[in-house]
Subunit: 446 residues, 2 copies
């Protein structure tokens, strides 16, 4: 199976085959989409959603159907949260410009954001997306180390730029792997084999450093999404990452924590995924939930690294750190605190995982339920003994849930892992709705 | 002079030296900025602006001073234009999600945008920034041609990603030039020497193709900002670019038009810079003015190229093409039409250039006044005979204008060219204010 086929099969409506058996209005939209975006622009679900509005944890279709959103981490504090909509609407009517003029709002936001980071992370560069952030982190790592080698996981996703695609094997680019990139197995807590997770992952990183050396290269950085989302959602035991971080530093490289997925309280245990592991990154990559959907991202780092980079490189991001983004970002930080969303992620996440584990007892094809906070992976297997991945079962379940108006996705290199990643405003009452739909879908789809 | 010094001197406040002689409130903001963003984050003007609000062509400082904005092309239809603020405020309260669900607003916008493009440009991929757009254009060009060679101009700027920085020498990265990039002299209409502009530029492109061949490489693309902004603003005579475009196509490469600067009616003569030249690009890169400050960008291209890219590469942009961006983008297109902004760019641009040319007659250090629409370059030289670039004079003029509350910048590889690029809402009455300030500043600064 080619990589392209893989991406088409990851919970995708088949645009190339066209629409049939759908409502005429939906078919018409799909034709318009295909005409404007081309046949390879991906749409979710066998029966795509036509959404017209959203609120909290609900996406509402054109016919009024309310879908429970257990997938979207961008509207992290809840779709159309009034704190963010008011902040954006208020600021965009007053001032929206770049950072080459002084503006106190953007410094106030930077200060608040940096206050959530451990010493010595004390500078931030604002961008517009997680991809731009990951790309800038690579630029800084290469510049300050004077090296090019990069270590990432086998099915990682860090973004969509040319440089970041090289360390994003899950994005299904079929370009020849870049010689300066070495991929290591993700810290798989289900199929990873014997031995401690931490030592095993660190051993892979040390081997990758050796591989780079054999190629005449030295490592600039190890980059890891600290919850290993696209690899299959492997939070692992808190702390296991520390040994690999020590290994890259022993080799003179930096540790880049990609917090686009675990950051902003998603794991419930901490504001940042790296905090779970008791490590302090050299570079922190931020994106998706940062502005609850307002396009913004950032790289937080040590002042010495940024100053060193700045002596050799200009960097300016036109939209990055504009006053509207700062207002949106501040509203997100306020709301996480005011509404106890980190605590809720922990509480509701545990509740939902417990419920899923209980249902799994009677479903042998559910091989594993794992997660941290409101990021949960459910592994579908052909049988619990072989643990052979069952992508088809995962696809059936995702679509069965969609027919019950509950939205989830898939992840992992075999595409057999359910990705359950609702807005942090997802409460126990929503978990109950989810679990009821899941119980029915299990009996139908497996 | 190092590249870093160059970037610091391009109309920059010297953050490394710190603040002195400024209002205490301004000094405090600069300290906070430096603490959060580091010492190399660039701030404009010897006396930086502390802006608190904006409207139309005016930026308003904390003390109430109204500054005439003749620099910012992002708020292209005017700062805080009510059409965009209403569109954003309205949509962000209703729905803001990604493009993997159906949403008619984003197709309506795509259709409107593509209707402004010539056949066979009929597909668009939405991104969040011009940098992401340029990066994606490079990915597509490399993928569909199976080649890596890139040709750009000597002081080009196309964006800030790792790959795009390689073709952005003006961004002052001191990395070793990439072997797959060959830089050609910009089509300099002032210092370019004898012979026709079109043949001269095309000859440089053909030589670059030969240089790539000598390196064992073939050209994937020629990329040009069709008004050559950071090279020094060289619109040139309409049509001159056609011969270079033919040359790259003869060699099997693509033509990428970077419309971040000239696009969206800036040149007055057309909606797109490439239209001035009677050429149809293979890839069109869009950014800055697209959403009047809402972070959005895009790549428009031929369906065959996008489909071919899509068979080998996944591409998804989380925030790209969200309903809020679509609403902002649609409001921009509507306003350009409703308020006659292309015609105004032509009319006011010509009026302003004529006024500048008249003042230049008595100022021998003004070597050249040129431009298209509301993008004007004024070249400062030591004397009209040698045409030696006078960066210091340009800096003095920029800061003298700033003291008169009129905002402009500088451009060009010598940093001696005034960059005059106001919002398209800049009318003759604003040009009159500008010209009065310019006359006084000329007598003071030169």
């Amino acid at each position: 199976m080619s990589e392209t086929q893989k991406i088409l099969e990851l919970n995708a409506f088949d645009m190339t085959a066209g629409a049939s058996g759908l409502a005429p209005a939906t078919e018409a939209l799909i034709r318009r989409r295909r005409a404007a975006f081309g046949p390879t622009s991906m749409l979710f679900y066998k029966r795509p959603l036509h959404v017209v509005r959203a609120e909290g944890v609900w996406l509402i279709e054109a016919d009024g159907t309310r879908c429970l959103d257990a997938y979207n981490n961008v509207p992290s504090i809840g779709h159309c949260h009034p704190a963010v909509t008011a902040a954006v609407a208020g600021q965009i009517a007053v001032l929206n410009t770049h950072t080459r003029y002084l503006h106190d709002g953007v410094y106030a936001y930077a200060e608040r954001l940096l206050a959530t980071m451990p010493d010595p992370i004390a500078n931030v560069v604002f961008t517009c997306t997680g991809s731009e952030s990951a790309d800038l982190a690579l630029r800084i790592a290469r510049s300050v180390t004077g090296r090019t080698g990069l270590i990432a996981t086998e099915n990682a996703y860090h973004g969509n730029t040319l440089a970041v695609t090289e360390i994003s094997p899950s994005s299904a680019s079929t370009e020849t792997p870049a010689p300066h990139v070495v991929l290591v197995p993700a810290p798989d807590t289900y199929r990873g084999g014997a031995g401690g997770l931490g030592p095993r992952f660190a051993t892979h990183v040390r081997e990758a450093i050796e591989t780079l050396k054999e190629r005449g290269l030295a490592p600039a950085a190890l980059i890891a999404d600290t919850i290993f989302s696209s690899d299959g959602i492997f939070p692992g035991d808190p702390g296991f990452l520390a040994e690999a971080v020590a290994a890259i530093r022993d080799a003179g490289g930096l540790f880049v924590a990609d917090e686009v997925q675990p950051g902003f309280a998603r794991t419930g245990e901490a504001m940042w995924g790296f905090t779970r592991h008791g490590v302090v990154p050299d570079l922190v990559v931020m994106g998706k939930p940062m502005g609850n959907g307002f396009p913004m991202g950032g790289v937080a780092t040590r002042p010495d690294l940024l100053a060193d980079f700045g002596t050799r490189n200009g960097y300016f991001n036109t939209f990055g750190g504009n006053p509207v983004a700062a207002a949106a970002g501040l509203a997100v930080l306020d709301t996480i605190a005011d509404e106890g969303l980190q605590e809720n992620a922990q509480d509701t996440g545990t509740y939902l995982r417990d419920g899923l584990s209980a249902l799994a007892k009677d479903a042998p094809q559910v091989g594993d339920v794992r997660g941290a906070g409101l990021y949960i992976g459910v592994e579908l297997v052909r049988d619990p003994e072989s643990r052979g991945p069952d992508r088809a079962a995962a696809e059936r379940l995702v679509n069965a849930m969609r027919e019950r108006n509950v939205l989830i996705g898939t992840a992992g290199k075999y595409g057999n892992i359910l990705k359950i990643r609702p807005p942090l405003a997802f409460r126990r009452e929503h978990a109950d709705i989810f679990l009821e739909a899941f119980a029915t879908s299990l009996s139908e789809a497996l």
